[in-house]
C-alpha cells in the first residue's frame, strides 16, 4: 500500500508548527499504524530529515502512551483501539492521512506529535489513591466481601489507561472522563469510600487548576475512549461532588 502522510511538525514547545507532507510506499496491511510511522522515520533518517517524534511504548494498547489525532479522530478510525492497535488494513491504498498531536491547553506540545500529559499525574496526586501505607499487617484480603457488581464496575472504571483521548476529542478539552474514572473506581469500593468526599473535591479542583475545560455532556469522550470508559462515571462523580460540597465537615 501507498500513503500520503500529512503530519504536524513542531520543533519545540514555543516554536511555530505546521503540516509537512511525506509519501510512504511498501506498507503492508498487517502493519500497525506506528509501524507505518517507523517506516516513514527510517526513510526520513536516510534522507537527512529529522524523524517525526511521537510517544509510544507498549504497542499493545495498555500503556496509554501513544497519542495521535488521525484524520480528525483521537487514535484514528476504529473503536476501542489505541493508535498502536490501529492497523493499516483500516485504510485504503493511496489514502492521504493527516496526523496531529492531541490538542488541549493542559497538554502542551513538546515536539511534533508528543505532548506533555503530566497534568494527569497531578490530578491523581491530588487524591487518586487510598491512604494506606505499606504494611505486612493489613486485614485479610477476604475480610471485606465486595458485591461482584460493584467490584466489576470499579474494575471497568479502573481500566482507564490515561492516554488523554477523552481530552483531545472533547470540544472543551475536558478531563472529566479521566478524573471520574478514578473517582468512581475508588468510591465504588469500601476501601475507597472513607476518603471519597475529600478525594472528589481535591481531584476536581486540580483538574480545574490544570486548565481543562468543563463538561457539556456531548459524550464524545466515551465514543473515542479506547477502553470504553462509560460517561456514567461522570454522572457518578457529579453526584459525589455535589454531595461532598453540600455536606458539612
Amino acid at each position: 500500500m501507498k500513503f500520503t502522510i500529512n503530519v504536524w511538525r513542531q520543533s519545540g514547545p514555543k516554536e511555530k508548527g505546521g503540516i509537512a507532507t511525506y509519501k510512504v510506499n511498501n506498507i503492508s496491511d498487517d502493519m500497525s499504524f506506528l509501524e507505518m510511522i517507523d517506516v516513514l522515520n527510517e526513510q526520513l533518517i536516510i534522507q537527512d530529515i529529522e524523524p517525526v517524534v511521537f510517544d509510544h511504548d507498549c504497542r499493545e494498547g495498555i500503556c496509554g502512551m501513544c497519542s495521535m489525532f488521525i484524520n480528525g479522530e483521537a487514535h484514528g478510525p476504529g473503536r476501542g483501539v489505541t493508535t498502536c492497535q490501529l492497523h493499516m488494513r483500516e485504510f485504503q491504498d493511496g489514502d492521504t492521512i493527516t496526523i496531529e498531536p492531541f490538542r488541549a491547553k493542559a497538554f502542551p506540545i513538546i515536539k511534533d506529535l508528543m505532548v506533555d500529559r503530566s497534568a494527569f499525574d497531578r490530578i491523581i496526586q491530588a487524591g487518586g489513591y487510598v491512604s494506606v501505607n505499606t504494611s505486612g499487617n493489613l486485614p485479610d484480603a477476604n475480610a471485606t466481601p465486595i458485591e461482584k457488581q460493584d467490584a466489576d464496575a470499579a474494575f471497568d472504571a479502573a481500566t482507564c489507561i490515561g492516554c488523554g483521548a477523552c481530552v483531545a476529542t472533547c470540544k472543551n478539552a475536558s478531563a472529566m472522563l479521566f478524573t471520574s474514572a478514578k473517582v468512581s473506581q475508588l468510591s465504588l469500593l469500601p476501601q475507597g469510600k472513607i476518603e471519597a468526599s475529600e478525594r472528589v473535591l481535591n481531584m476536581v479542583k486540580q483538574m480545574d487548576l490544570e486548565g481543562f475545560g468543563n463538561c457539556t455532556n456531548t459524550g464524545a469522550c466515551e465514543v473515542e475512549c479506547p477502553k470504553g470508559i462509560s460517561i456514567e462515571n461522570i454522572a457518578r462523580m457529579n453526584r459525589d461532588y455535589i454531595s461532598a460540597s453540600l455536606s458539612s465537615k
Binding site: M31, D38, C63, M65, D121, Q125, T134, N142, T144, A158
Partner: protein
C-alpha cells in the same frame, strides 16, 4: 574465579526471613530524613519500593523514561499474581508455592530467596486490596482464583486480563500519594545513562533529561535499579519498545555482576510474527491455557492444506487433531510450564505441523470450553433443552467475561474472530530470568546498589512460572527492599548529603557526553533500527529456544562483527541538547550489542539443559531437558572486564539445597 557469598541468614528455611528481619539494624525516623535514595524505574518493583521507602521517611527520587510512572511495562502483564492464600482449600501453602517455584525454575534459583517470596506473597494481596485494586470476585463477594502453568492448585489472583495494569496503578497511586506529600521527587522522561561510584559505593547516577537533552547529576546514599528485563535484545519480544538494559548494563560495567544472562523465557502463547516490519510481539495470556486446548493437525497433509488455505481448522474432526501437550504431559496437560510448552510447539512446527503461512503457529482452541461453560450456564439459568446454538452463545458469554479483552486484542491484530475459529499462537521472547546478581538483601556486588524485580536474577531460576513476575516485583518493592536497604543505610547516618561536585560525578558525566557525541559525530549511513533488527535475528537463531555450541560460537562471532559495523556505520540524527529519541535508542542498542555476546557466552558455558536454557546436546531420548546438577548447580555471575564482554570473568555462586531434593522435573 571467586566464590560469591549470598549472605543467606542461618537457620531453618522457614525461619530465615523472620529472624533476619528481627535482627537487622534500623534507621531512626530523624535519620531517615537525612538520607536520599534513588529508584530507577517505576514498574511494580520501582513504584512499590519508591512509595514504601518514602512512607518510611527517606527522601526518594524516582526516575522513569516514560512520560508517567504509570506507563512502565508491568502495565502489560495480563494473567495474574500468585499468592499462597489457599482460599480455594485445594492444598496450597507457603511451602507448596516455594516448592513449585523452585521446581518450575528447574532447580537453578536460590532457596532462601524463593521461600521469602512465598512467605510475603499473601501480604501482597492484602496490600493491593487495601489500595483499592479491583481483583475479580465471585458472587459471594470473595476473591476469585485461577490456575497457571506448572502448578496443580488455583492460587492466581487476577483482574480479567489486565492484572498488571491494576497492580501497577495501585503502586502508582501509592507513589502519587508520596509525590503529593513531597516525599518523592518524580523525574519522568529521564533515563539513567551512568552509575556514579564514590569510594567504591554507589552514590548516584547521571540521567539524561529526555526533553531537553541535558545530562543531570543526581546523588544519593543508595541506588535501586528496578529497570525490568532485557528481552528486547531479541528485537522482537513482548516487551515495550522502550524496555532496555542500559541502566543495568552501565551498572554491570561499573562492577555489578550479571547472573545467568542466558536464562530467557520464551512464552508459548503469543501472536505469531506476520511480517518483516513488525516491531513487537503481543502476548496472549497464559491464563488462556486454563480453558484453551492446544493442538496441531495429526496428519501433515492436513497441516499443509490449512497452510495453503484449502482447509479450515474447524473442519478438522477430533480424531484428526493432535492435542500434543495433553498427549505428552497427561498430568499437567495444557498447563505445563512455559519452557516445556514452548519447546513442544517448536518441535511440532519443526516437524512440519505448523498451521499458518510461515509454518510457525499452533492452535489454541476454546470450542470445548465454550461447550462446557455453555452447558453449565444453561443449567444454572434453567434453559430447558438448549440447542447447540444457544449453548454456544451462553458459552461465548462466559468466555468473554473471563478473557474478553484478550480476545478483542487478538481480533484487532489478526482480523480473525477467536470465538469462532481457534487462535493461532507461537512462542516469543517474554521475560528474562537472568539479571543483575544480588545477595539475599537484594544488594549487587556494588555496595549501595540494589536490584529489584525482573532486573535481578534471584527467584525464578531457569524458568519463571506464570503469574510470578508480578508477585516478585511487588514482594521486592513492598516487603523486602524497605527492610534490607535500611540495613545498608544504617551505616550511612552520619555521611551527610552526597555532593555532585566530586570528580567522580564529573568523570561519569563526561563519559556519557563523549559517548553521545561519538554517535552524533559518526559519519555513518545506516539507521540504528537496522542494527537492532539484525542483532535480534542473530539472537533468535543462535541463542533462542534451542541452542548448541556451534551456533552459539557463530552467534558470538556475528555479534562482534555487527558491533564493529555499528560503531563504523551507524547514523544518528539530531543534536545533543534537545529531545532526540534516536540518540536514546543508539545508546540502548549499543548496550544490547554487548549484552547479546555475554548471553551467548553464558549459554555456551552452561553445558546442560535447564528450564528455558535448552542445549540440543543435552536432551533425553524423548527430547526433554537433561540437567547436570553435579557440574552446573551454580549461578553464573559474570564480571565485566577489559572493556570487552568477550573477556568477562565467571564467578560461581554454588546453589545448596537444604530443603528440596533435586529431581528431574516431570510434568507427565
Amino acid at each position: 574465579m571467586s566464590k560469591l557469598n549470598a549472605n543467606i541468614p542461618d537457620g531453618s528455611l522457614a525461619d530465615k526471613w523472620t529472624k533476619h528481619k528481627a535482627k537487622i539494624p534500623l534507621v531512626s525516623p530523624a535519620n531517615k530524613r537525612q538520607i536520599d535514595v534513588i529508584v530507577v524505574g517505576t514498574g511494580l518493583a520501582g513504584s512499590s519500593a519508591a512509595a514504601s521507602l518514602a512512607e518510611l521517611g527517606y527522601n526518594v527520587k524516582a526516575f522513569c523514561f516514560q512520560d508517567s510512572p504509570r506507563r512502565a511495562h508491568s502495565i502489560a502483564a495480563q494473567g495474574g499474581i500468585n499468592a499462597a492464600k489457599n482460599y480455594q482449600n485445594d492444598g496450597d501453602s507457603t511451602y507448596r508455592l516455594f516448592y513449585d517455584t523452585i521446581k518450575g525454575g528447574d532447580y537453578r534459583s536460590r532457596e532462601a530467596n524463593v521461600h521469602r517470596l512465598a512467605e510475603v506473597s499473601a501480604s501482597i494481596i492484602d496490600q493491593c486490596v487495601a489500595q483499592g485494586v479491583p481483583f475479580a470476585r465471585e458472587y459471594g463477594g470473595l476473591l476469585d482464583n485461577r490456575s497457571f502453568g506448572g502448578v496443580q492448585v488455583s492460587r492466581t489472583f487476577y483482574a480479567k486480563g489486565q492484572t498488571g495494569q491494576q497492580l501497577l496503578l495501585g503502586a502508582y497511586s501509592a507513589l502519587s500519594r508520596q509525590v503529593a506529600k513531597g516525599r518523592v521527587e518524580l523525574l519522568s522522561r529521564h533515563e539513567m545513562v551512568e552509575l556514579v561510584k564514590v569510594d567504591g559505593k554507589a552514590r548516584g547516577i547521571i540521567a539524561r533529561n529526555l526533553v531537553t537533552g541535558e545530562l543531570e547529576r543526581h546523588s544519593a546514599h543508595a541506588v535501586l535499579l528496578c529497570t525490568g528485563g532485557y528481552g528486547n535484545v531479541f528485537y522482537l519480544s513482548t516487551n515495550a519498545m522502550g524496555s532496555n538494559v542500559t541502566a543495568a548494563w552501565k551498572a554491570h560495567r561499573k562492577g555489578a555482576y550479571m547472573a545467568n544472562p542466558c536464562f530467557t523465557q520464551i512464552h508459548p502463547t503469543c501472536i505469531p510474527v506476520s511480517g518483516d516490519s513488525q516491531s513487537k510481539l503481543t502476548l496472549m495470556s497464559e491464563s488462556l491455557r486454563n480453558d484453551g486446548r492446544i493442538w496441531v493437525p495429526k496428519n501433515s497433509e492436513d497441516a499443509a492444506a490449512i497452510r495453503n488455505g484449502n482447509l479450515k481448522p474447524t473442519e478438522l474432526t477430533e480424531e484428526n487433531r493432535d492435542y500434543y501437550l495433553e498427549r505428552r504431559y497427561p498430568a499437567f496437560g495444557n498447563l505445563v510450564p512455559r519452557d516445556v510448552a514452548s519447546r513442544a510447539a517448536k518441535e511440532r512446527c519443526d516437524a512440519g505441523y505448523g498451521v499458518n503461512k510461515t509454518g510457525e503457529a499452533v492452535y489454541l482452541d476454546f470450542s470445548s470450553a465454550i461447550q462446557r461453560f455453555g452447558a453449565e450456564a444453561a443449567l444454572v439459568q434453567g434453559v430447558k433443552n438448549p440447542n447447540d446454538d444457544e449453548i454456544r452463545k451462553l458459552g461465548e458469554k462466559v468466555v468473554e467475561s473471563k478473557y474478553g479483552n484478550l480476545f478483542q486484542m487478538y481480533e484487532k491484530i489478526t482480523a480473525q474472530n477467536p470465538y469462532k475459529t481457534p487462535m493461532m499462537i507461537y512462542p516469543a521472547v517474554h521475560y528474562t530470568m537472568g539479571g543483575i546478581w544480588v545477595d539475599y538483601n537484594l544488594m549487587t556486588t556494588v555496595p549501595g546498589l540494589f536490584a529489584l524485580g525482573e532486573a535481578n536474577f534471584s527467584d525464578h531460576g531457569a524458568n519463571r512460572l506464570g503469574a510470578s513476575a508480578l508477585m516478585q516485583g511487588l514482594a521486592d518493592g513492598y516487603f523486602v527492599a524497605p527492610y534490607t536497604v535500611g540495613t545498608y543505610l544504617s551505616e550511612d547516618i552520619t555521611t551527610g548529603k552526597i555532593s555532585t561536585n566530586s570528580p567522580e560525578f564529573e568523570e561519569a558525566e563526561n563519559i556519557s557526553r563523549k559517548r553521545m557525541e561519538g554517535f552524533l559525530n559518526n559519519k555513518g549511513s545506516i539507521p540504528i533500527e537496522v542494527f537492532h533488527r539484525e542483532l535480534g535475528k542473530i539472537m533468535w537463531s543462535q541463542c533462542g529456544m534451542a541452542r548448541n555450541a556451534k551456533d552459539l560460537k557463530k552467534g558470538i562471532a556475528d555479534i562482534r562483527l555487527l558491533r564493529d559495523k555499528f560503531y563504523a556505520d551507524v547514523k544518528v540524527p539530531g543534536k545533543m541538547n534537545e529531545m532526540n529519541p534516536e540518540l536514546d535508542k543508539a545508546g540502548r542498542v549499543a548496550d544490547f550489542l554487548e549484552l547479546g555476546e555475554l548471553m551467548c557466552i553464558d549459554a555456551l558455558t552452561r553445558e546442560e539443559s535447564c528450564g528455558g536454557h535448552f542445549r540440543e546436546e543435552f536432551q533425553s531420548k524423548e527430547g526433554e531437558a537433561v540437567r547436570k546438577d553435579d557440574e552446573f548447580a551454580f549461578v553464573a555471575a559474570w564480571e565485566f572486564a577489559e572493556s570487552d564482554p568477550g573477556k568477562s570473568k565467571l564467578h560461581k555462586e554454588e546453589l545448596s539445597f537444604q530443603d528440596v531434593k533435586l529431581n528431574t522435573r516431570s510434568y507427565k
